[in-house]
């Protein structure tokens, strides 16, 4: 089930909210327990809607890691540090095995067969939706319990509710257990928080339905052209459209997740902060998919030694982290190339360009960063490495591609307004606009704006039935 579907908006969400807010007890703890139970039940329905088989895998994973958490804590209490470490390592292996088997086994087998001429059987299993997101959440919990950062959760329902929570189950943001531990047992929904949640949700819905889907259609149209005949301008328009599409698609989903979280009384971390206004690649990754970057920093980069073990080790750590970041997005060489591309750029910024960048005006730095990010998206969006290089060839006029042709003119004249509007939004122009100072004027203007966005989204959803989220693939 996707958030931007009629079933979700008009059936699942209203029923969920009705059940969630149905008062059962005056006792606050009992009420929270009921809410957690409802949240778990509806989240399982949400997941099972599109993935009935793999819900079993998720439940096995939850039950195993719940027991592991309690077991590790128990071993520490008894002073058995070595046993706790052994259990911890088993848990890490278990979770990596689950992720590896269901997401990467086919890729590994394929590459072993092609490199060594073997004929190992490929398991060819479909990818369980959201497996990368929930496995990372589980790992964060196990690591934090082992490191003593959080207490093990003693009740299965709150723990299962944390992992399966439908707002962020399928496409993040990756919520670390330490960020949500207290909220699982003590949270409140105020009118203001609920209203804030609606605003976030409608904003995200608008980003996805009105912006990402519209600009995605332009990119799809451009994909249908022959790369050899594509002009440089068309290639750049195409990748710029994809740049906007992936931002609005993913940040739209994240906004909806944050909004739904607020409606249910949770506060999730912010996942995007106008990434296309970044002044460097380092800055870009502080603004794009923040929850994933934070996860890799906290659970891979720092445990590997971060930058505390000398230059050579720092370089190695950065390359490891960014190769893994690429691989996390999918079992494809294009994703590994994309991750490696960022690893190298970040190293270049850290060791070579640091002083040079200081002397470049901020606007120029923003433009340069955006161009580099767009080049990165070519690898990310391509089906294979050779297609990525063919497309890059068209962008940079390698071959006989003209600079500009009638197709480019047509694309600009028919989509120019949408591209400018979306660019202004992505670059934070609307966010920076002055707001009414009067409280009532602000409420009325917000109400009008978000009701209009919602109505437009519904109208669009009724006419356009197909709107998958790009990040569901991960």
């Amino acid at each position: 089930m996707v958030f931007s579907s009629s079933v979700f908006l008009f059936l699942f969400l209203p029923l969920t909210l009705a059940l969630y807010f149905l008062p059962l007890s005056r006792n606050k703890q009992k009420e929270i327990s009921k809410k957690n139970f409802v949240l778990l039940a509806v989240s399982l329905i949400f997941y099972a809607w599109g993935e009935p088989t793999y819900i079993i895998l998720m439940l096995i994973s939850i039950y195993f890691n719940f027991n592991i958490g309690v077991d590790i804590e128990h071993q520490f209490e008894k002073g058995r540090k070595r046993t706790a470490k052994l259990i911890f390592l088993c848990a890490v292996l278990f979770n990596l095995f689950v992720l590896g088997y269901f997401k990467y086994a086919g890729f590994i087998t394929e590459n072993l067969n092609s490199i060594f001429g073997l004929s190992l059987e490929n398991n060819n299993l479909p990818l369980p939706v959201g497996i990368s997101f929930y496995t990372f959440q589980i790992l964060s919990y196990v690591v934090d319990v082992y490191c003593g950062k959080v207490k093990a959760q003693k009740k299965l329902i709150p723990f299962a509710a944390y992992i399966t929570m439908f707002p962020q189950l399928i496409a993040g943001p990756i919520v670390q257990y330490s960020d949500i531990e207290r909220q699982l047992t003590d949270r409140a929904v105020t009118k203001e928080k609920f209203a804030d949640g609606i605003i976030f949700f409608v904003r995200g819905l608008g980003k996805k339905v009105l912006f990402a889907n519209t600009i995605g259609a332009v990119y799809t149209e451009i994909l249908g052209f022959e790369i050899q005949e594509m002009s440089m301008a068309t290639a750049w328009i195409g990748i710029f459209c994809y740049t906007l599409q992936i931002y609005f698609d993913f940040s739209g989903y994240s906004d909806m997740a944050v909004g739904l979280g607020k409606m249910l009384g949770f506060e999730f971390v912010r996942n995007f902060n106008f990434p296309y206004t970044a002044i460097s690649i380092t800055d870009f990754w502080r603004r794009w998919h923040i929850s994933l970057s934070s996860w890799f920093r906290d659970y891979v980069y720092i445990p590997l030694g971060g930058n505390r073990k000398g230059t050579a080790r720092t370089i190695l750590n950065i390359l490891i982290v960014w190769s893994l970041t690429g691989l996390w997005h999918g079992a494809e060489w294009t994703f590994i190339a994309w991750g490696g591309f960022y690893g190298i750029l970040l190293l270049a910024e850290k060791y070579l360009l640091k002083d040079i960048l200081k002397h470049i005006p901020l606007t120029v730095r923003r433009i340069l960063t955006l161009i580099v990010v767009m080049i990165g998206w070519v690898f990310f969006s391509s089906t294979d490495i050779s297609s990525a290089f063919s497309y890059l060839g068209a962008m940079f006029g390698i071959g006989s591609n003209p600079i500009f042709d009638s197709t480019s003119g047509y694309l600009l004249s028919s989509n120019g307004f949408a591209i400018v509007l979306m660019s202004l939004s992505a670059f934070g122009f609307f966010e920076a606009m002055p707001r009414p100072k009067n409280k009532y004027a602000l409420v009325i203007s917000n109400s009008v704006i978000y009701v209009v966005i919602f109505v437009l989204c519904i109208a669009y959803l009724i006419s356009e039935t197909y709107n998958p989220f790009l990040y569901f693939r991960f």
């Binding site: 599109g50 895998l57 039950y63 195993f64 299993l125 939706v129 197909y466 998958p468 693939r473």
Partner: protein, 158 residues
């Protein structure tokens, strides 16, 4: 006692995981073949004369399926609005996306049935006998006199 239950829980989880892996491996798997590879044997038994192979735009226009969503596809359709013959084979490894795409194709088929029902009995009969299945990560959709034979060729070539 509590510790024993925890240990038992860990062991049961591992046993369940092994059983689950055995179960999913016994189920339908994603075929290693791409849609064009599978399509080769289907095309050899299906009369597609007068139809034209469609690109991503054609796929989107007819079914609303975005080009980046399927792993691979082949789609043949006639340019003649009264010719209902068509062949669509889509490979999609993501099962939730596959279900969504299947629903889109199903809707197109239903709409066409309703459209031709009242005034074009020949076309209507072909649409009634159309084959639409979702198996082994492939959506197979064929409309034509030889749709059944095409489906058999499709099943054999997976």
């Amino acid at each position: 006692m509590k510790q024993l239950i925890i240990k038992l829980g860990e062991v049961v989880s591992i046993v369940c995981l092994i059983a689950f892996i055995m179960f999913v491996n016994a189920q339908d798997k994603v075929s290693e073949r791409s849609a064009p590879e599978v399509g080769e044997s289907v095309i050899s038994v299906m009369n597609l004369e007068g139809t034209v192979q469609q690109n991503e735009k054609g796929l989107r226009k007819q079914f609303g399926i975005e080009a980046e969503a399927p792993d691979s596809f082949i789609y043949y359709k006639s340019e003649d609005v009264m010719d209902v013959r068509e062949l669509l084979i889509v490979k999609v490894t993501d099962s939730s996306l596959g279900q969504q795409m299947f629903s889109k194709v199903e809707k197109v088929l239903t709409d066409k049935k309703n459209l031709f029902e009242a005034y074009a009995p020949q076309q209507s009969a072909l649409l009634e006998n159309a084959v639409l299945v979702y198996e082994n990560s492939f959506i197979f959709f064929a409309v034509g006199e030889d749709a059944r034979a095409a489906y058999s060729a499709f099943s054999d070539s997976l």
